[in-house]
Symmetry: C2
């Protein structure tokens, strides 16, 4: 299959591109490299020493014998994506090319506007490109579990059967996203659902949980293939951040009461989920939603797991409840469905001690790269960056 990975230089995109290439697919990467620019803007860098894409690609060819085509381009520029679709003619497009940080979108007006413009207009351009150039192409779009918020009812996969005043319908699941970033994913969902209806595009919307881990079978084949490991307050995600905090001797940053429950997924399952989606395309016109996570944890329990794993490696970590910079429920009901990917063959890597050990060890190996000044939260939902 010919698969174009938009955002293929990023945290999820890079291991996805390698995995699919390793599995025998013909891969193209489309990326604007703006994610690397944001690190410069924020004055942060990944814990791991990631290399430029052209070096990564050359090394992958060396270790695997496989070529990955590279298309530098920005999805908000229609001429960029138009040319690539015409040249590469993908059977599937995996769309990671969005600004994916909630705190980044909450910094100030400019960052909120940028995030909504970048994500919504980029996806619109892609929809028109698919319609006009590769109408049979399967759009595999990354959404987020954060689209649902924390309703007091079970979360289903995209749609819900509602009975109301004696009548029934299957309707889009009501969304309550919690940041200007999460809102863009809801806007995208609505735009894509509509495009499927009117143009018979086939699309899979993967509402992904919080991703943890950094290594996959492919990225470990050579140090040059190393993946991102963000631990800063803006782009770092909970579990990865906690491991770095333990090693840096900073109390683990539980926001508020820590009863916030979310879906989580190992990055090795992320790449497999993408393959499952590509291997099982929906019918033309079908808009399909899968919840892409394997386990639910609350933040407090997650911090405890990291504390105990660190302890076995001789590190005494403290868990601390910080004032919550976000506006969100800190104790709530949460029960989300996630059977559709498992029904299609996903065999989850559940969070275990070996993974936690490996993450803490990566943090230890790169300890000299940890900047303790970028860890504590400075972006607040009420007033932006303070």
């Amino acid at each position: 299959m010919r698969i174009l990975v938009l955002g293929g230089d990023g945290y999820c995109g890079w291991p996805t591109a390698l995995y699919l290439s390793d599995r025998g697919h013909e891969i193209g990467i489309f990326d604007s490299f703006i994610r690397r620019t944001w690190d410069h803007e924020l004055g942060v860098q990944t814990l791991t020493d990631i290399r430029p894409l052209h070096q990564r690609i050359a090394k992958w060819k060396e270790v695997s014998g496989k070529e990955i085509a590279v298309f530098p381009g920005d999805l908000t520029r229609y001429d960029h994506i138009e040319r690539v679709l015409e040249e590469f003619r993908p059977d599937a497009v995996v769309h990671y090319a969005e600004q994916r940080s909630a705190p980044y979108s909450m910094i100030d007006r400019e960052h909120a506007v940028f995030t909504q413009y970048n994500n919504v207009i980029g996806t619109l351009n892609l929809l028109f490109g698919i319609r006009d150039i590769v109408p049979d192409c399967h759009l595999v779009k990354l959404g987020t579990m954060g689209e649902y918020g924390t309703p007091n009812i079970d979360i289903e996969e995209g749609f819900i059967e509602i009975e109301h005043k004696g009548r029934r319908d299957r309707l889009p699941f009501p969304k309550q996203p919690g940041s200007f970033y999460h809102l863009t994913k809801v806007h995208d969902t609505n735009n894509i659902f509509f495009a499927c209806k009117i143009w018979k595009i086939r699309a899979t919307d993967l509402n992904q949980g919080v991703v943890y881990g950094t290594v996959t079978e492919q990225t470990m084949r050579d140090p040059v293939l190393v993946n991102r490991f963000d631990y800063d307050e803006v782009f770092g995600t909970a579990l990865n951040r906690f491991c770095v905090q333990a090693v840096a001797g900073i109390p683990l940053t539980v926001y508020g009461k820590g009863g916030q429950t979310r879906g989580f997924i190992d990055i090795r399952d992320t790449v497999r989920c993408i393959e499952i989606a590509c291997d099982n395309p929906p019918a033309p016109g079908e808009f399909r939603v899968f919840n892409q996570f394997t386990e639910q944890f609350n933040v407090k329990d997650l911090a405890e797991k990291v504390r105990s794993a660190a302890k076995k490696l001789g590190i005494e970590a403290e868990v601390k409840h910080y004032e919550n910079p976000r506006i969100e429920a800190e104790e709530h009901y949460y029960n989300a469905a996630n059977t559709k990917l498992i029904d299609l063959g996903l065999e989850p890597h559940y969070l275990d001690e070996s993974l936690l050990d490996s993450l803490v060890n990566i943090a230890l190996e790169n300890k000299n790269r940890i900047d303790p000044n970028v860890i504590l939260p400075r972006v607040t939902w009420a007033r932006g960056r303070t």
Copy 2:
């Protein structure tokens, strides 16, 4: 009360500004005049000979003794709205400043992107402006009944109580908008709801039905105050269009089977609904949704009403079922709630013969301005403008 009307030069904005001014409020109009540019772009003009805003304002002062402040500006330019909020310091902002035509948004990629950019980013700018400059100001935002689509259950006002697997919650009503324009209203709804939660902004979202009529008590005081009357396929709305078609001798344009049912409202009720919303502001942080329509009709029945009103004036009109340029259900269940505005004091003008007579007569008076070439649909949902 000091009320700023964004889009106050438009079809609903202009009579709203006059009505509120007449009722003793201090009014400012913020408008970019881009709506007038779109007429030039499409090669159409309103049936009525609308005058430039500065003439309208001068005449209003002459007939009423009241001043309306004018602020030329574009909501997608933050510096424009920032300056006006600082200078005018409104108690309420009535936000009509969006691209409001579904067919316009479906012309091609550029028009879809423009519509989503203009509406979503403009509203984001307004939310930040309110947060930072006039935090107690009441945002009165125009949404549309089209946000809901045509679900097989009763439509409630913004939210719905859902019971699911033995648990309950009050959640945003699931939306199924039917064009890139309608999608922007859903995006706005989600963005505003979030801003109310995190910043304690007070907002009323008015999901308006299809507006008909053109004259209000204020616009009829002088010919210079005349309101828009769009009848072209892009900006014209059903009932107004049918009246012009009857006079022009063009078979009334019922799309498909004509069983499409929608909520409708007389423009004299639109302006009153805005006043009701302003007079009854929600609490800080409250996001309130009212469905702003007074009656439901299906398109076929509406065309029959116009045909019979025209007949009494000696005009033989034909009703014709054209191939539907849109992708929508043509026969469906539809039952939408609309009690909240009535509970607050709205006394509806229901559609009657005298209103139909008056519209047909306006069409007759302006018959020489009717361009028969701009009436039949050319923008299709499947392929854009053909």
